[in-house]
């Protein structure tokens, strides 16, 4: 027998390729750094127009797929890049030495993030190295862990004290649900619902979901009422045979 194709591979669309790529990145700074570093770009002189275009292309499909929170951070960065790009186009007054490059704040953030990204990689190495050292109890107990046979430190007084401090017991089970009146009108509604998408319904099946007789009686009365109004047709081949309920012909279109 052939196994059904996993749903995930069926729904994969073109855009998801970007999604998979993006999942690799921790956030907009990570993606941006990747674009800069893998193209050997001087981080202190980022070609902002080019990078912005690449960044936007990478996140184009983000909105539909990523969680709002994650998508938001990528979109926010896109907006920042566009703003920087615009500022770069404005003529700058060359006479002021401390006229700051619009990219400088971004560069500072990128460098800062890069440092911690490096530290994170070092931590991963340290974690792997530490994991090679195993403590006592590393091997799973076999046979299953037995509790030490030493005497238990617990007095009856302590137990009683705790028992008394607990909230009162819940009402004795089983709970008796409050009796709710069963009405013919309610059953009529349910018949309409049951007949909506079916050509016929078996009476026995319809009442099968309730265990008490009152439901069967009310359901039957509802049938008779509907038949009287001409909304349904009842059919039974013989005495005590299966009872079928059909929606009447002129009810089809309503």
């Amino acid at each position: 027998m052939r196994l059904p194709t996993p749903v995930s591979s069926q729904v994969l669309e073109d855009g998801d390729r970007f999604l998979i790529e993006l999942e690799r990145f921790q956030g907009p700074l990570d993606l941006l750094l990747h674009l800069i570093r893998c193209q050997d770009i001087d981080i202190f002189d980022i070609p902002i127009a080019e990078i912005t275009a690449q960044f936007v292309a990478a996140i184009e499909h983000v909105e539909q797929h990523l969680t709002l929170e994650r998508a938001g951070s990528f979109l926010e960065m896109a907006a920042t890049l566009v703003r920087i790009k615009a500022q770069m186009l404005l003529p700058r007054r060359g006479d002021l030495l401390d006229d700051e490059d619009p990219r400088s704040e971004l560069v500072r953030r990128l460098l800062e993030y890069e440092v911690f990204r490096e530290v994170a990689y070092s931590l991963a190495d340290a974690e792997a190295e530490r994991a090679l050292h195993r403590g006592k109890g590393y091997i799973e107990p076999r046979p299953p862990r037995r509790m030490p046979e030493l005497p238990l430190e617990l007095t009856i007084n302590e137990l009683l004290e705790v028992a008394m401090s607990l909230p009162a017991p819940p009402e004795k089970r089983p709970h008796r649900a409050p009796v709710r009146p069963v009405t013919v009108d309610e059953k009529i509604e349910l018949w309409f619902k049951a007949l909506k998408r079916k050509t016929r319904v078996q009476f026995g099946k319809f009442i099968g979901r309730w265990k008490t007789r009152i439901h069967a009686v009310m359901s039957f009365l509802a049938c008779l009422e509907l038949a009287k109004r001409g909304r349904v047709v009842l059919r039974q081949d013989r005495h005590f045979g299966t009872l079928w309920i059909y929606p009447s012909e002129d009810d089809e279109n309503s």
């Binding site: 006592k136 617990l154 137990l159 009683l160 004290e161 028992a163 607990l166």
Partner: protein, 176 residues
């Protein structure tokens, strides 16, 4: 890697006795007989070096345990004796079961307001509670009650001998 060292590493990392055949699983080319020999070697080493621990045969397996003469020091040590004290969660759960048995996990959770699966397993492993019945209804949940060991611990003959609320004051006073 020397066989003796591999066997030592495995015995060290295990908290329960392991049979030579089980220890041999550590390496593809290790036989139970070689493991036995290595254990003999370790025993002699620990003896000569007067280590605080020794390899002891337990059942059909072996385990490294501290020598009996160090027991008083270990007992003084909190974290080692602590294992026999019930946690607050275990104590509360035990109290609920003792006084309301038979009870289902759900009922315990309703009283304590938190998941009880882990605590129940723990108490069961300690032999203080057991499954005594199954409830009617959906899923037929297991019902827990206390064991004979529980009664023994408190010197009770039957569960009806458990003190009631009227004894609480006395119990509290005598507990001081």
């Amino acid at each position: 890697m020397k066989t003796t060292r591999i066997v030592e590493a495995v015995l060290f990392a295990s908290e329960t006795p392991l049979t030579p055949a089980e220890i041999a699983r550590a390496s593809g080319d290790l036989s139970a007989k070689e493991v036995e020999e290595a254990i003999g070697q370790l025993c002699r080493e620990y003896e000569v070096e007067e280590r605080a621990f020794q390899v002891y045969p337990l059942g059909d397996g072996y385990q490294i345990l501290s020598r009996p003469e160090f027991a008083p020091y270990l007992e003084r040590f909190d974290s080692i004796t602590r294992t026999n004290k019930l946690s607050r969660a275990a104590l509360e759960t035990l109290a609920i079961i003792a006084y309301r048995q038979p009870v289902s996990r759900l009922e315990v959770e309703e009283v304590r307001g938190v998941s009880a699966a882990g605590v129940l397993r723990n108490l069961q492993e300690r032999g203080l509670i057991e499954v005594v019945d199954r409830a009617e209804g959906l899923g037929r949940p297991m019902l827990y009650g206390t064991t004979t060991k529980f009664l023994d611990h408190f010197g009770l003959r039957t569960i009806d001998d458990l003190p009631g609320p009227e004894n609480l004051e006395i119990a509290l006073r005598s507990g001081e």
